[in-house]
């Protein structure tokens, strides 16, 4: 038995979203069970599934370095303060 992760998407809207997971012995039955459990009332138009064993996961430690890169952002505060002082001066 394999555990599959289920992703759903509506046509023309949003990105694929994780909907949950499901157990199935093979890909064919996984698709069928996902349709009958996650798409019972036209909740989406497209379905992606991936065997959990094949998911490539970047964990929190891998992602963490990029949460501390302020030089990649600009908060615009210096210019905003300048504009405000200009308006105040008129």
């Amino acid at each position: 038995m394999h555990t599959y992760e289920v992703f759903l998407k509506r046509d023309g809207q949003e990105e694929y979203r994780h909907a949950g997971s499901i157990n199935a012995p093979n890909d064919e039955l996984a698709l069928l069970l996902a349709r009958e459990n996650y798409l019972r009332r036209a909740e989406a138009d497209l379905l992606w599934m991936v065997d959990r064993a094949h998911l490539l996961v970047g964990d929190r430690d891998f992602v963490a370095p990029n949460s501390d890169k302020p030089h990649r952002d600009n908060d615009g505060l210096l210019v905003a303060a300048h504009r405000k002082s200009q308006r105040g001066g008129m």
């Binding site: 994780h18 157990n23 093979n26 019972r40």
Partner: protein, 308 residues
């Protein structure tokens, strides 16, 4: 991998700040156990409820309602499927172990699934009063649920339970407009199911409820129960039915209905696996598991890999 907390205090500060727990987090053991028990109880109840629905597929009157019962059965079994998946991912018990415990009478399911559904009137009362209690209960869990995987699955479960409740409301209206025999049957079903459905909310919440502190519940039991009484008493009265509560009171100023004293004895009996239909229900569930063994065996024997 996941996040970790140095103490229960730190974890509760995280929860209090609106934090969401995910499956790979190193959550405190007490929280993991409580979330698991909560989801296992829900999963067991969906499975037991789905099996009762299944019993009624051949007996449901009319093709349209028969098809609706088929869909409802599929929904409930599907909910069990998804919830066992979320519960198993917590690593406390496997799905197999949860099912074995259920069939051995070692794990619980909700009180309303310990009673027999004898007539079509009972099925209508269950679909109205029990689903009418399940929807607000599940919504209160969903609203502020701290465990992410459960919250995400609850969203779709609540949407489907909403269909069931509307089905129950339609059935109740139709039976109210039926013959005298049908109305008498439904009155008997209200008499039999009113209190079990009301007791589904449980006794009044304790002031320091751990499940509330950990954001697995966001509403007090007594508040949800009062809302349920306020919804169904006027509805059933307007259809010309009575509610079997001699202590029921009505405040003409506020138009609020309040139920009389509640006997919690029957709830305790069902929690001790000693309800009127407990043994038969468990035997039925266990038999259904055995008679479908060939499907699981066939699935296990199916070739793995891609669709050709």
């Amino acid at each position: 991998m996941g996040r970790t907390w140095s103490s229960m205090h730190d974890f509760e500060v995280f929860l209090h700040g609106g934090g969401m727990v995910e499956v790979d987090d190193d959550m405190p053991d007490e929280y993991r156990a409580a979330v698991f028990r909560f989801i296992e109880l829900h999963a067991n109840s969906e499975l037991m409820g789905g099996l009762t629905e299944r019993d009624w597929i051949p007996r449901t009157p009319g093709l349209r309602h028969k098809m609706a019962v088929l869909a409802k059965t599929q929904d409930e079994i599907g909910h069990g499927h998804l919830l066992y998946m979320v519960a198993a991912d917590l690593g406390v018990k496997t799905r197999q172990e949860m099912l074995e415990d259920l069939f051995a009478g070692h794990s619980r399911f909700h009180n309303v699934f310990h009673y027999p559904a004898r007539t079509w009137g009972d099925q209508v009362a269950i679909c109205l009063l029990v689903d009418g209690a399940a929807v607000p209960s599940q919504k209160s869990v969903y609203k502020d649920c701290s465990y992410g995987p459960y919250k995400r699955i609850l969203k779709r479960i609540i949407a489907e339970e909403g269909f069931h409740l509307r089905l129950g409301e339609e059935r109740a209206l139709r039976i109210a407009q039926g013959t005298d025999t049908q109305r008498a049957m439904f009155q008997q079903s209200i008499d039999d199911w009113w209190w079990p459905a009301l007791r589904l909310f449980g006794p009044d919440s304790k002031p320091d409820d751990r499940l509330a502190r950990w954001r697995l519940k966001s509403e007090k039991n007594e508040v949800m129960r009062a809302g349920w009484v306020q919804k169904f008493v006027p509805m059933l009265h307007s259809y010309g039915f009575t509610v079997p509560d001699p202590g029921l009171t009505h405040d003409p100023e506020t138009d609020v209905w309040t139920c009389g004293p509640i006997d919690w004895g029957p709830l305790k009996k069902t929690m001790a696996m000693d309800g009127p239909d407990t043994a038969r229900r468990i035997a039925e569930a266990s038999a259904a598991w055995e008679t479908t063994r060939w499907v699981r065996d066939a699935l296990d024997a199916a070739p793995a890999g891609a669709v050709t």
